[in-house]
Symmetry: C2
Subunit: 256 residues, 2 copies
């Protein structure tokens, strides 16, 4: 089975040219097949503000209004995705920018309205693993924006961590799959003020204990939820960490 | 040899939802392989204006400043390209949005500075016909934005008519290639005020005579220049016209 590494980069990395450059250097040099998944970053909010578009929030949650979806299409689907592709091409990689609509790779539906109407937020129905495997077999590097479609012509906004975990899960049967969440810290820390407190290996049991004791909290919780979901679906390991010279290192997460 | 139709749509069509919808219906139903190439439209200028970015002009020519390139990446490479892909997907087509950087399909260089510095405008060096043929052979419909790259990480702005003609020329050796420029009028007219004056067939000789007599002038001249260039490169026919129920019709252009 061929090796596949999925690397997810978010706002913190995308907003810093030097960090991004290091990540792309390491990413392009990785052996085996690879997929880059990118989130947003400050630029989306900045462009929305300059366009006079307000990012609506309900109960502390971001809502994807039609105007905010247009901003996401412009900034994530256009500016960022196209520049990432050009940067990988510069490094000799054969990159291909994708949203869920391209080759119908990710079909989603508008999140059902419950207590909150999240607007044009998409929950994933299925990943077209065949189309993605086909690209990977041809040494193409998919670069995935946090956008999906519903098959009826409507684009939808989907969280990049979720896309990364769901795509990794869908490909785990065909590849030796590894999922990397690039993080602004060296990995999971037991003391947020001490980089030396890095947890080098995290199992489900250990993670539950850390959650109970409050060592792991906040934004790390959904990341770990996605990580264990991917591991249960057959992904070999999940890494939360940073780019080093030849690979991504940090906290390695396995089921047991 | 398989049939290939390249259809180029510009601003006039992109700005009218009903016209665009008709073009996409006809396009998706065409037999054989196909490629859609799209230009800009009013949205680019509108977004630039809302962002407070001025589109610089020198001697009546548009200059691609770094800010305008960002707008092109957002609006043409993001908003428009992604929505066109989703619209074709809705019609059952397997579409794939591309800029020149994706799979390195169009390599270009910044236009050399002569009397005018056009800024980040790209003149095409080469089309990756192999990568495009490979997609077409898999029944994938490339949807091409008017953006190229220089292989050094720099995206560039390239005219969509030029992309259409150059890509058609590059594929003419592998496919029975037909190039359609979708137009706001029924085709080339001898009397601009009378749709009944449509020239149904135009040869190089006839076009030269019309140019001399002034019947063909203005924006039609670069279109015809691109058309005859493509025909000389082996493209079977060029059509300047509109979407009808089952095909695009208007003025058919051949060398002789």
């Amino acid at each position: 089975m061929q090796q596949l590494t999925l690397v997810k980069i978010g706002g913190k990395v995308l907003d810093h040219t030097d960090q991004l450059s290091k990540v792309l250097d390491t990413f392009t040099r990785l052996p085996g097949q690879k997929i880059l998944i990118h989130g947003g970053g400050k630029t989306g909010g900045q462009i929305a503000q300059r366009l006079g578009i307000e990012a609506p929030m309900i109960g502390g949650r971001r809502i994807t209004s039609p105007e905010m979806l247009q901003v996401a299409l412009m900034v994530y689907g256009g500016l960022m995705n196209r520049q990432l592709v050009a940067e990988i091409a510069r490094r000799g990689g054969r990159a291909l920018g994708l949203t869920g609509a391209d080759l119908d790779v990710i079909r989603a539906h508008k999140r059902p309205v419950g207590e909150i109407d999240y607007g044009l937020a998409g929950d994933i129905d299925r990943v077209n693993a065949e189309a993605l495997s086909d690209l990977l077999d041809r040494n193409i590097i998919p670069v995935m924006a946090p956008l999906t479609h519903d098959g009826q012509g409507q684009m939808l906004n989907t969280n990049a961590d979720t896309i990364a975990a769901t795509v990794a899960s869908a490909l785990a049967a065909s590849f030796q799959t590894r999922l990397v969440f690039v993080f602004e810290r060296p990995g999971v820390l037991t003391d947020p003020d001490d980089d030396g407190s890095l947890v080098s290996h995290l199992t489900f049991e250990k993670a539950e204990a850390y959650k109970t004791s409050g060592v792991i909290a906040g934004g790390m919780l959904p990341k770990l939820h996605n990580a264990f979901g991917a591991l249960r679906a057959g992904v070999k390991e999940v890494i939360i960490g940073q780019a080093h010279a030849t690979d991504f290192n940090g906290t390695t997460i396995t089921l047991s």
